[in-house]
Symmetry: C2
Subunit: 401 residues, 2 copies
């Protein structure tokens, strides 16, 4: 029998009735002859309630204890879904992260999966059970319960599919992957298929459907991923290998992020050690840097801009304070009224002219950009937050997305 991993997010399991619906959907797929492994998130807004309780105790609660607290959310869902499956007459077993053999490493609240001891799940499948696994969590080598941070349940699902060598279906509250966020540009086209590379760019750029890390694991282990609406009634989007995506378009998608903080450090004495120092310190405080741009040195100094999540503002402030002690002349400015717009397409690798086209569209529409960075298959711009909707609309129209 083929194994199939399915993941249902928080909205999909947000109530008892929804959990019963998911149970029926899982059973239908089991009846088609699949060995089912189901990964679920915490019910609806239950994680928010737990966070609220923690915040009522401490502004900055201990991360180990946060993991202990938040992991209960998924544990509740797995037990209820497993009960529902049994109620419908199907043998099932729920497994927490540690029971599913998900070994993690790294900092609490943002652990990474180090390995999965898959034998337990395989044995339960062999015994005909539907295996229900708590997403987002694992256990570290000290025996502490850990969580995987943002996109953790997707990561759990894709990692399990990688170890089980099977397809991974991600069911969510959007009906697939669009070239542009349809909430911003309603005429956006849904993609039938997208390559891992494009999806990683789009995900890390805030397309919001899936987190990059889950797609990265899919890419690394060649796990076919299918993203679709949790009702199962609408055809979604496949994420697969680039080679298997026929007739690729030059530009596949457009992504926008709002939760962006842009920091510019001016007047850094030019010296590779100084630049390294900046990013070493940021890494030490676990600040996740997104865009980095540095201009060429002029008069012995360089300017560096980078973007990060607004959540990291306190950590960044600490780093800046320390940096000012070591790099005496620097001047630091912060801008939080920023959006990031990215144009993504694997076809960019082979076709030139995309950057020029985008610069012209911006210029024709009086959109000013502050920072530009490029990768093999994407170009990203930071712009004033108030220009975001305009930028998305004109780019989507002009680039036929």
């Amino acid at each position: 029998m083929a194994v199939l991993v399915q993941k249902y997010g928080g909205t999909s399991v947000g109530s008892i009735d929804k959990i019963k619906n998911i149970a029926r959907r899982v059973i239908a797929d089991k009846e088609k002859g699949n060995d089912m492994v189901i990964v679920v998130s915490a019910m609806g807004k239950s994680t928010d309630k737990l966070v609220e309780m923690a915040k009522a105790i401490s502004e900055n609660p201990c991360n180990r204890e946060m993991d202990m607290l938040l992991s209960t959310g998924e544990q509740i869902t797995i037990s209820l879904l497993s009960m529902a499956l049994k109620e419908y007459g199907y043998d099932s077993i729920s497994l927490t992260g540690f029971q599913a053999g998900i070994i993690t490493e790294g900092d609490h609240t943002k652990n990474r999966i180090a390995e999965i001891e898959i034998e337990n799940i395989k044995n339960h499948l062999k015994n005909g059970k539907i295996v229900v696994v708590a997403g987002f969590q694992g256990i570290n080598e000290n025996g502490d319960i850990t969580t995987l941070g943002r996109g953790g349940s997707d990561t759990t699902a894709v990692a399990l599919a990688a170890r089980l060598k099977c397809q991974c279906e991600i069911y969510t509250d959007v009906d697939g992957i669009y070239s542009v966020d349809p909430r911003v540009f309603p005429e956006a086209k849904k993609l039938e298929v997208v390559s891992y590379e494009e999806m990683m760019e789009m995900a890390s750029l805030g397309a919001g459907v899936m987190e990059t890390r889950a797609v990265e694991i899919g890419f690394k282990y060649k796990v076919p991923i299918y993203v679709a609406l949790n009702t199962g009634e609408v055809i979604g989007t496949y994420i697969k290998e680039h080679e298997k995506v026929m007739e690729e378009k030059v530009i596949t998608g457009l992504a926008a992020t709002e939760d962006v903080l842009m920091i510019t450090i001016n007047n850094v004495e030019y010296n590779s050690k100084n630049i390294a120092l900046i990013f070493k310190k940021l890494a030490k405080y676990n600040v996740n840097i997104d865009m980095i741009s540095q201009t060429a040195p002029f008069n012995g100094v360089v300017n560096v801009s980078f973007t990060a999540s607004k959540n990291d503002i306190f950590a960044i402030d600490k780093v800046v304070k320390k940096l000012k002690n070591e790099l005496k002349n620097i001047e630091v400015s912060k801008d939080s009224n920023i959006s990031k717009i990215s144009v993504v397409g694997i076809g960019m690798m082979n076709q030139s002219g995309v950057a020029g086209k985008v610069f012209k569209i911006f210029s024709d529409n009086n959109i000013e950009f502050k920072q530009v960075t490029t990768s093999e298959i994407s170009i990203s711009y930071t712009i004033d937050a108030e220009d975001k909707i305009k930028a998305i609309t004109v780019l989507a129209k002009e680039l036929d997305l």
Copy 2:
């Protein structure tokens, strides 16, 4: 440093403010030079909410999944209490049942503690941490999360104190152990000290302050137990070895239970195999039998009465159905409008006349009893539920409780 185990029940940790209060109390005892191990229950009525969700899925949810579900309640409390302790500047670590090394065996939802691998807790104490342990839960040899059933958190606390060879303090919403339930007989006297044996009788007879099993472990390992109000402001009751209880009274206490179902099986062909069959079948369905009385055989048949919890009514119905196939002539009657009254006192072992005294009190007050059983240190009666208050009041007065 002396180790001290404290247990706080659901009402004591029923809100964030209450958890903060408990943290301050724990810190005060830590400051007195104790190594602290704190066992907590789920917050307030949170377990009821979880049960409600399960019942919305299945009338008879899978017990393994119930354990998975219910164990999240304590996990939430331990993380929040540990956060609060850290917020006040005290190093702390929360441990679930499996992390605390609590290995259990038996049926899901009513597991027993098989052993405690105490090294992890000892190491954390050695490192100066306040250890916060989830009560009521453990892990079995299959790696399944288990719960200990009623009184589980008390059991966890006393068992930990047994392994740590220290005193166990049980903080609850009553201010100690009374000779009679003060809600029923307001003039009841609080006991300063009570022996394990008396407490076991009283607990199993429904005194409600502590479950028998926790006291049993205390008895077996000679753990001094102190039961007191969770504010810590009122002197509570010590439970300790019989030899250490000076000047014992003949009768220490009176206990009453309402949740009683009395079953009478008449016309059982006299034959020890038949009686054994009845109780074997009941055990197979996990029906917990309390009182058993059997009269001497007459005309080749005997009558057997027993009491059980009303919760077991469905299981009992199933057993009765099966029994009727095998023991053709039996007649079964059920009475659920029953209270059980027990008079307990370790002094009964050495003094006679208590039974006679109680029979006389009942007779003088026109209280009819249906069933009588005795142990070394107690006499129990089943009576009509409507006579309960009257029976308690007259017994308490006449026996000076």
